[in-house]
Symmetry: C2
């Protein structure tokens, strides 16, 4: 496979799944006090707009990556709202 493509895929995988450990941590500890609500709202809103943009330009990798990110950030945001 093309090394440039592989580099892009590694970068995308890391940033797409980055919020998985954060959501697991929040589920386990039930503590989210140190998380910035503004950061989570900006990420959530930004990702929804990335999904709209991905649909507009019919870009499947962009759509897929952001739908996965959306799941983990939504879990983290819901827990932040719940636990404060």
């Amino acid at each position: 496979m093309d090394p440039v493509l592989i580099t892009g895929l590694i970068a995308a995988s890391l940033t797409t799944f980055a919020f998985l450990p954060q959501s697991i941590r929040a589920i386990k500890t039930k503590h989210t006090g140190d998380l910035s609500l503004t950061t989570l709202i900006m990420l959530e809103t930004g990702i929804v707009i990335w999904i709209i943009y991905g649909a507009m330009i019919s870009n499947i990798p962009l759509l897929a990556a952001n739908i996965v990110s959306f799941i983990f950030i939504t879990i983290t945001l819901i827990l932040k709202i719940k636990y404060g």
Copy 2:
């Protein structure tokens, strides 16, 4: 301006600057216990690889967005390592 381009720029701005409030919060409170170190390391590594990818394909917006993100995530990661 093209509405598709505007949508992409709004999405990019939100996700690029999302870690600014998180780094400000960590600086102010000196508490980072609820942040996932794994998440921060995945983001930091992912963003470095995005920068390499951006350089490989000579994509200035990708480079610019990830260099800005890198600054805020690096600050947050350093504070996480410092405060635990």
